[in-house]
């Protein structure tokens, strides 16, 4: 990808992560790794966000919250599973209160593994997410054209 077609705004939700990935998500946007120089802005409002960064696995209590945030986001949208717990459940996969990775609740576009996920991996995942976002917005445009 030679250029980013837009500045991706991200929203972050902590599923049942241990905090390790959460603070790495924040560290990605802070000086040091400085995701903001690529236009990545953290927002608290799902309606403003393009990319949904989920850390941690889903359980009975938070699966509805994850779905609710996803449903409130406006199309086109991309979901990034940050860290191994969000990808598959990780070290906690056989805990009684862990259903599994985030893909058990919502469709995931990019998987960023690691325990905890490294900021470099996250930046890479967000860049990949922007490419998926472009594809999705193109598909959306074409389907609108066909509808007209």
């Amino acid at each position: 990808m030679a250029f980013a077609s837009k500045s991706p705004w991200v929203i972050h939700y902590d599923g049942s992560s241990c905090n390790g990935c959460d603070i790495e998500v924040l560290a990605t946007l802070c000086p040091g790794f400085d995701g903001e120089r690529f236009g990545v802005v953290n927002t608290g409002n799902p309606k403003h966000a393009d990319i949904f960064l989920v850390t941690g696995s889903v359980n009975e209590q938070n699966i509805d919250v994850v779905r609710e945030i996803y449903n409130q986001m406006v199309e086109p949208k991309v979901v990034v599973a940050c860290g191994i717990c969000a990808c598959s459940g990780g070290i906690f996969h056989d805990c009684y209160n862990v259903i599994g990775g985030v893909d058990k609740a919502i469709p995931v576009d990019v998987y960023a593994p690691g325990c905890a996920v490294r900021p470099e991996a996250l930046i890479d995942a967000i860049v990949k997410g922007v490419a998926v976002l472009d594809e999705k917005s193109q598909a959306l445009k074409e389907s609108k054209k066909r509808g007209e």
Partner: protein, 362 residues
């Protein structure tokens, strides 16, 4: 007087990196009652002791919480060691405490940033996290990990810090002092900070004791309690250790206590680095905890006292592993500080207990 309404706060909220849900009962702009609801992060990892042996469980223990990861692996290892009667070499104890104090520095810097963000001081948030990156660089150099260190094992530590590396660690800490002093001066003298923190969320010394508060949250209400002052492990070799206290009892006092604790931790690291004994960094641990053997342990985490309990059953797997974390102790203090506060101060008060939800729910 208006009619009471309920405002939901969380679980997804910009000020909290973690999911905590509060039902705020408000009358006009005043919070009458705050009802916390937790359980979003519960994984049930205490039950994993049944399927992981005591050596494997240390990796689970440090993933109780990514911020206090070092503390939890240390607390767990110490508990199992006292369960099995293992004597850890002196050098390993020193290294453990140095990493633990480094993680306190990183945790407090993280918290100071989040607190600044809670009252809208976003550039301060960035500055605190910029300094925190330097501490994470130390972790990466000495252990290979940034947040999950995996450096403690039952019977010692996995890696050594040689003299050249230790000199680099001290040089890095000296390097951040200049910037840190500036940040601290801003947080403690700036009027805009004081406007949002002084007299907000006051808890008296008497209430702090009655609510069993722990950690910097309690020390800001002049509760003289710090597990480090028991002098166990390498803490016993410190020339002088006095908990940092403040009798303000408000959010400002909590900011102040944590600011000064960063300086204290850096002093501890320097003192221990200078006194570092030579020798082995681990002992071989063989066998299994005896059937019915019990051990308990307390540790001063960045957020306060954490209690560990373990019971053996004669096999490699523990019968029971239990922790009581500082945030679960402090939740009662938080809800009592929230009652009667302004709606705009809710963020600040919640953050000043430094909530660690994944520790609490496990």
């Amino acid at each position: 007087m208006g009619k009471a309404t309920v405002i939901p706060f969380g679980p997804q909220h910009p000020v909290l990196p973690e999911p905590l849900h509060l039902d705020l009962v408000v009358e006009d702009e005043t919070v009458i009652e705050a009802v916390p609801q937790i359980g979003f992060v519960h994984r049930g990892l205490e039950k994993l002791v049944e399927t992981r042996d005591y050596n494997q469980f240390i990796y689970v223990a440090e993933r109780i919480c990514g911020i206090c990861a070092m503390g939890h692996s240390l607390g767990y290892a110490e508990t199992v060691e006292s369960l099995m009667g293992v004597e850890v070499p002196k050098r390993a104890e020193y290294l453990r405490v140095i990493w633990h104090e480094l993680s306190r520095v990183h945790s407090h810097l993280l918290w100071l940033g989040l607190a600044a963000d809670a009252f809208g001081f976003e550039s301060m948030f960035m500055h605190c996290w910029r300094l925190r990156e330097r501490v994470l660089d130390i972790f990466e150099k000495t252990t290979g990990g940034r947040v999950i260190l995996s450096v403690v094992k039952v019977g010692g530590v996995v890696r050594d810090i040689d003299d050249a590396m230790m000199a680099q660690v001290i040089a890095t800490l000296d390097g951040i002092m200049d910037d840190y002093t500036k940040i601290m001066n801003t947080l403690l003298t700036d009027t805009s900070v004081k406007n949002r923190t002084v007299d907000v969320g006051y808890i008296s010394h008497k209430d702090a004791l009655a609510l069993s508060m722990v950690g910097p949250f309690a020390r800001a209400s002049a509760v003289n309690y710090d597990v480090r002052s028991f002098g166990r492990g390498a803490y016993g070799d410190l020339a002088d250790f006095r908990p940092i206290l403040d009798d303000g009892g408000d959010c400002f006092a909590r900011v102040k206590v944590r600011c000064l604790e960063v300086l204290q931790s850096i002093e501890i690291i320097k003192e221990l680095a200078a006194k570092m004994p030579a020798g082995d960094i681990e002992v071989a641990v063989k066998g299994a905890p005896a059937d019915g053997a019990q051990a308990s342990n307390v540790l001063e985490q960045p957020r306060g006292e954490c209690y560990y309990y373990a019971r053996g059953n004669g096999t490699k797997n523990l019968e029971r592993m239990r922790m009581r974390t500082p945030t679960s102790q402090n939740l009662a203090g938080m809800t009592s500080a929230l009652a009667g506060c302004d709606l705009a101060d809710v963020n600040m008060i919640i953050l000043t207990i430094d909530p660690c939800i994944s520790c609490t729910e496990r």
